[in-house]
Symmetry: C2
Subunit: 384 residues, 2 copies
């Protein structure tokens, strides 16, 4: 294997860019999160990774994970199909890759489903990183009550007016009400799907999905043609959680999928909020329970949500305090590996800190975001 230059990413970004074709091929092959493949791509680049997959030149784990579809290469057709719908494939090569939204995955176990997305298929014209810069996820039961629909509309509408992007899963009930409320006030909204972006799921939301693409984005880590499936909904929920500053559950029954999204939010360090409801309403059982157990903070309106999600939303504001004591783990090791003055490259920092390259890559944008480090053509350096 040889290491590809990352500067390939600055080449042509059209449908037939070989690097992008490689990303598209890999996305189709793994169908969902695959931390091992993400690491391989980090190490050797997407083209070399694609070659290794095609030629079965892989570790056992990665071999098993890719064997079923290694022979399927519809990359060019997939890219063309999505481009025809006004969409594109967004990868870590792109400026709009929501890098810092995916940092939390570095803390998760390395199990099959807990990794960051390899790449994102996107319908919509706005950059994903920009769309998700200040975002709140609002989720809940498909069987929303009138109360649930009403409160969802109030909270989502008020947040969208206030400039927050509303992220949800495009399902019936609370999800749909959240997207619609954002659209209704001319706000931004992102739908994350558990199938290819060429599929309208649920079919009854086909028109809604078109509107979302026009006023925000429809996003999926699954290649075009992928059908929805149980495990994909669960994986999708982790993206709903990760692409926002916090998750609000408006209504959820005892065994609602929303609790899975909440579980991801907790793993990823996102604030979890829930709207209470009558203790006599089955649709509020899950929310009331999560509040009771301390899994979610009670919120009654958009103001409460902003109060909870605010500190991250305000991260670029004047109130950010640089506190070295707040650093730990890899972030602290990487920071300390930087000299007092002068830049260092990612691989150099990996060697100096003893932190794996992919982790160094993950923590640097976080450190930058918090004002500890800066980056220019020469590399990364400490900020005063």
């Amino acid at each position: 294997m040889t290491v590809e230059s990352r500067s390939d990413a600055n080449g042509p970004s059209g449908v037939h860019d070989p690097r992008r074709l490689a990303w598209a091929y890999l996305s189709k092959v793994v169908q969902g999160p695959c931390p091992a493949l993400s690491r391989l791509v980090e190490e050797v680049g997407p083209q070399e990774a694609a070659r290794a997959v095609r030629e079965r030149d892989l570790s056992e784990v990665l071999g098993e994970r890719t064997v079923a579809r290694a022979h399927v290469d519809t990359a060019a057709e997939d890219l063309e199909l999505v481009a025809g719908m006004g969409g594109r494939l967004v990868t870590p090569d792109d400026d709009e890759w929501p890098q810092w939204r995916l940092l939390g995955f570095g803390n998760l176990s390395r199990s099959r489903d807990e990794g960051p997305p390899l790449a994102l298929w996107v319908l919509g014209s706005r950059p994903v990183a920009e769309l998700t810069d200040r975002a709140i996820s609002i989720v809940g039961t498909r069987a929303a009550s009138g109360y649930g629909e009403h409160v969802t509309a109030e909270i989502a509408g008020d947040l969208a007016v206030d400039g927050w992007t509303i992220v949800s899963g495009a399902a019936f009930g609370v999800d749909g009400a959240a997207h619609r409320a954002a659209l209704g006030v001319g706000g931004l909204t992102v739908a994350v799907l558990a199938c290819g972006v060429d599929r309208a799921y649920p079919a009854g939301h086909a028109r809604l999905l078109r509107q979302i693409a026009q006023n925000g984005a429809v996003v999926s880590e699954y290649a075009p043609g992928t059908t929805p499936a149980k495990h994909r909904f669960l994986a999708r929920n982790r993206l709903v959680a990760s692409l926002s500053d916090g998750v609000v559950v408006v209504e959820a029954g005892w065994r609602s999928g929303a609790r899975n999204t909440v579980s991801w939010a907790r793993k990823l360090g996102r604030p979890v909020m829930a709207v209470p409801g009558p203790v006599t309403s089955a649709s509020s059982t899950g929310c009331n329970r999560m509040i009771r157990e301390g899994e979610a903070r009670l919120v009654a309106n958009a103001g409460d949500v902003v109060e909870e999600a605010g500190p991250i939303g305000l991260r670029d504001g004047p109130e950010v305090v640089r506190d070295l004591d707040a650093l730990s783990g890899d972030a602290l090791l990487v920071y300390e590996a930087l000299p007092a003055a002068g830049p260092r490259g990612v691989r150099e920092l990996s060697e100096l800190s003893g932190v794996a390259v992919e982790h160094v890559r993950a923590v640097l944008p976080l450190l930058e975001m918090e004002g500890f480090v800066g980056c220019d053509d020469t590399g990364w350096s400490r900020q005063r």
Copy 2:
């Protein structure tokens, strides 16, 4: 002043027992909590305290507090009136005095309104200590919604069936629904009034109050004839909180009196619980807010309430663990003043421990309840 023998309490307990007449006189004079008077009575007994009040032989604080009504002595008439209604005056002399329910006051500041009650006027045949041994207070807005009335009835009814006494303030709305639900299932209930027990307040609850007296107790620290007043409602709320194992707020608006009861419960170390409601309902604003702010734990049913209040309810059960490390402050000093074997009297313990007599009296029942000490005719001693 001379120290009266406490054995007076073993004398006649009828209307014309001079010691009881003194308690009744003092209760009428101070109209509500008066820590300074409680301390004086602890020191010199009620008769000597009554003499001192009548003859203005008092400290400045106590002089001011009692001057307005020192000349009013309706003790005999008050005792006769209440006896005629099937009631009585319960004092610290009596076995039914809910001593341990009032211990929490020892931790409060010594301000005018924060003391224990001097004595309690009671209608109803059951001993107060027994009635309040396993008790839950349920309070809330007078303007309860249908939802609030329904949930109150469910929770209070289920708790009462389970053997818990329902304590409340006999007001319209949540209070009334709580009392009624307990009566409806043949359970026990206690109404604490902000006026004399001879007054039916609110008048619309006259029949309800009679039923409560027949199936539990109507209780007040105010002598007969005392009319309800703002400050008496606030003082009454502290008794509602103290006479139970925990306070449940079912519905409360933003500025509900229930929040005052909650504030007392927190000061007195009682668990505070609140039932959530629709965020669109003004009657649930206070409850939702208290849950959000961490002032109250969300409860949805009687099971949740018992889970929260249970550890105190189970205090006599087999699960009580004696842990010396749990003792602190006066309790620890008093315990350590006891010899390994053999009894000591209260004054002796006060001298040995350096803890004031009234505090020694307050902590001993607590220590007994927790199994650290025992008491017989010869005095208090350590338990193995």
